[in-house]
Amino acid sequence: MSASVETVKSVEAATGGEYKYGFYTDIESELAPKGLNKDIVRFISAKKEEPKWLLDWRLKAFQLWLNSAAEEPGWANVRYAPIDYQDAYYYAAPKKGETPKSLDEVDPVLLETYEKLGIPLKEQELLAGVAVDAVFDSVSVATTFKGKLGELGIVFCPISEAVKTHPELVQKYLGSVVPAADNFYATLNSAVFSDGSFVYIPKGVRCPMELSTYFRINAAETGQFERTLIIADVGAHVSYLEGCTAPMRSEHQLHAAVVELVALDDAEIKYSTVQNWYPGDKEGRGGIYNFVTKRGACRGRNSKISWTQVETGSAITWKYPSVILQGDHSTGEFYSVAITNNYQQADTGTKMIHIGRNTSSTIISKGISAGHGQQTYRGLVRVLGKADNARNYTRCDSLLIGEKCGGHTVPYIEAKNRTAKIEHEATTSKISDDQLFYCRQRGLSDEDAVSLIVNGFCKEVLQKLPMEFAVEAQKLLGISLEGAVG
């Protein structure tokens, strides 16, 4: 663990403990006119050369959004000034000629940006064995390892490309887990989504490497609306990673993504996120509004979907990765570490809907709140009448650092089947003085002691992350809590 303390230190030294990814890449970009109307939706669709069914789908969603415009959700425990949806760009793309065929053709400025972000695309292709899809503002700029994955029949490409190459899959599954009318932000996303990743793992294939998407908001006053769709066919297995950053800006930017996962019989999807959007400065100015709908459907028998998230960024997070356990014997998991420091607010949690027989779900949520941070765990566990022998275990712990922060727990537990076994436990406390004393007595400074204790507090979740991310996540924990102690 001392190693992690060192990493935190070295990263801090290099960055002054500030947000490390706050730089802006000066690259010419193509923007759609500001505002949101039917023509913008048509414009985005035309830019992507989409078939008519998709345009119709978008327009229908847009209409729904207009109808529901009054129903912007207000129930979450977050506060912000109203968003002017007309005062933003809904499409921003780095200007370029032809779509790059390989990394060599990708604009070197972009590659450099990803290098700075710690994702050297080229290097990764050669060494790391992680296939990366990089999404810059609204479009996917590069996808690595395509060839190797193609040999196994795995499709890993921008969703805009999948619409052209695998229309039958996209049409079948798009909106099947998160329907266009699902909620305010998902509806907005359905109308204006720009790009995102598409993954299809064919029957019986175990994806040999981690698939990863890196999201970057670069242009000013733009919203990012990506859409990810992952399908694991019968017996397939995939582990998917997602990372995000944005430049430091004093105004807020909206990020409203939708992620849909579909697991068929015996399939397994593991989805990990390290969310590090710009959180705003120490006074709470700027930062990303992260309003995301993520949902997985365990459609088949013995299927499994697992969400792991480390949420350190964003001014406001509103996110509930959920699993619908339709198939008998299916499993849903949710592991989360969320940190709110300074004026960050997070309302996050999960939903586990038990429909099939013998389904089980596990929820482990660790929230850390510091400074003026406000954090809410909001979760739903629902067992329907037919879901015999459903099993759920939930544990959510909150750690509070500082007297101005808040930690809240709002679980909803509903059972309509007597064979259900549901357990929920939650605690809220500060770092105990005894623990701190113990560490300090052994020569650790206050900050190192807190870092050590926090890492221990989150260990259960961090262990679920793939190696590469676990290291990054640990560093992030340290940086996010910078200045919270003392």
């Binding site: 809240h408 549901i422 929920h424």
Partner: protein
């Protein structure tokens, strides 16, 4: 929406009919409070499950049946029928209310020690209105959340309806250091009044000055005929160092509706022990709001809900730790059988300055049949870091291993199940400190259990 609006208009009209006949019309503050309350209700209408606080309570039955306003009733109840609910053998001050109105012929106030006043709302409005003024106005402020500054009147619509119509109830006042020997037993009987169901609005107030001790026991029962609706509000205020035990049995008639709302304010060093057992009514809701307003308050809040047939039982609690070093322990357990539905929604909120608060909350539900349903929403809202808070919640059938253990020792299945349910509930009943009242709840539970499979 318009239908609901229309429904609440019926109550506005009814209010205009009776407003001159309500007690205390000579008091300007009360007249103002009542008109505000009825306006408030007219704006909000009956709470629907769309109001978060009422998510698990569905009042459509009483909304549709449009109950009439219950009036003073003299028939249908005799002492003999009530005796089974009396506490004995204990000196006790008993007040009986029929359809919300005090019935001296059934009551037995007994000899009161110096410093203890037991009277009715009507009398108090005549001779000590200032006592009511302070506490009634205070309740109307609740719609505004002092911490967030937000005002949400909807959850308190039924309290507003009570404020508008309340005509009778118990008013109990304990002077400094007064400590009566026996409990104060308040019995509310609902009886049929004509063809239409009636709705009563009893309004009670208990004020214990510093160092006083009191045991208050509220019993709500019905005579079985007609779908009566009780919309009761009880306010309790404990002064510095006071100690109040507050028990409640909700045993309304099977077709009845019970909406009970208790508002507890606790001053420095006071202790409050609350306990509610529900086994009656078709639709019921027990709402308890506790405010630990000053330092060093100890609060325990327990509940048992025994639901069967088509019963819908909702328990809603909200505990505010507003000052340092408060301590709360909350345990709610439900046993849900047949096609019944039981729920618990409890929120503990620790204010920014309430350092060294210790709050624990536990909700456990037993589902005994295929169609039984349970919902649980234990909620913690913590706004400072020097606290220790925890909550737990479970839903499930009896533990199979425990059953097996008993069966392996020759206990039949039905008996083994009964034994385990007994242990599950008994643990909470055993916390009731007053022996006669504990016995009362014990007997009640035993007879409930003997009817279970």
């Amino acid at each position: 929406m318009s239908v609901r609006k229309h429904t609440s208009n019926v109550y506005v009209d009814r209010f205009n009919e009776v407003r001159e006949r309500l007690p205390g019309t000579a008091l300007p503050w009360l007249t103002r409070l009542r008109s505000n309350a009825i306006e408030h209700f007219a704006d909000c209408g009956f709470p629907t499950p769309r109001v978060e606080e009422w998510k698990y309570t569905n009042l459509s039955r009483i909304v549709d049946s449009q109950p009439i306003l219950a009036g003073p009733s003299v028939n249908g109840v005799n002492r003999g029928a009530l005796e089974q609910y009396f506490l004995d053998p204990m000196p006790c001050h008993r007040m009986v209310f029929v359809n919300g109105y005090f019935r001296p012929d059934l009551s037995e106030i007994g000899v009161l020690p110096a410093g203890l006043t037991i009277s009715t709302l009507e009398t108090t409005l005549d001779n000590r209105p200032e006592l009511l003024e302070a506490h009634w106005s205070d309740l109307c402020d609740l719609a505004e959340d002092r911490l967030s500054g937000k005002s949400d009147p909807k959850p308190l619509a039924m309290v507003a309806l009570n404020t508008a119509f309340a005509a009778d109830g118990a008013v109990i006042h304990l002077d400094r250091d007064v400590s009566p020997d026996g409990p104060i037993h308040l019995i509310y009987v609902a009886v049929r009044e004509g063809e239409r169901p009636a709705m009563s609005h009893p309004r009670n107030l208990v004020v214990a000055e510093s160092g006083a001790h009191a045991t208050i026991f509220e019993t709500f029962i019905g005579d079985g005929g007609g779908a009566h609706c009780s919309n009761a509000v009880t306010q309790v205020s404990a002064g510095p160092g006071a100690r109040i035990c507050h028990y409640k049995h909700q045993g309304e008639a099977p077709s009845g509706t019970h909406i009970g709302s208790s508002h507890i304010r606790l001053a420095r060093d006071s202790t409050y022990n609350g306990f509610v057992l529900s086994n009656g009514a078709h639709t019921s809701r027990n709402e308890i709001r506790v405010r630990l307003e000053e330092e060093n308050v100890v609060c325990s809040l327990d509940g048992i809900y025994l639901a069967r047939a088509q019963q819908r039982m909702d328990n809603w609690t909200r505990i505010d730790h507003m000052a340092p070093r408060g301590k709360t322990l909350e345990v709610y357990k439900g046993v849900i059988d047949e096609a019944a539905h039981g729920s618990f929604q409890g929120k503990i909120r620790v204010w920014p300055n309430a350092i060294q608060s210790d709050a624990r909350q536990l909700n456990r539900n037993l589902l005994l049949s295929e169609h039984a349903e349970a919902a649980s929403k234990p909620e913690l809202e913590i706004l400072n870091d020097e606290v220790q808070c925890a909550h737990g919640s479970t839903i499930g059938d009896l533990d199979e291993e425990s059953l097996f253990y008993l069966r392996a020792r020759g206990v039949g299945e039905a008996a083994a199940r009964r034994l385990l349910i007994d242990a599950f509930v008994g643990e909470v009943i055993d916390k009731v400190a007053d022996v006669p009242i504990r016995k009362y709840f014990r007997n009640l539970f035993n007879s409930w259990l003997s009817e279970a499979v």
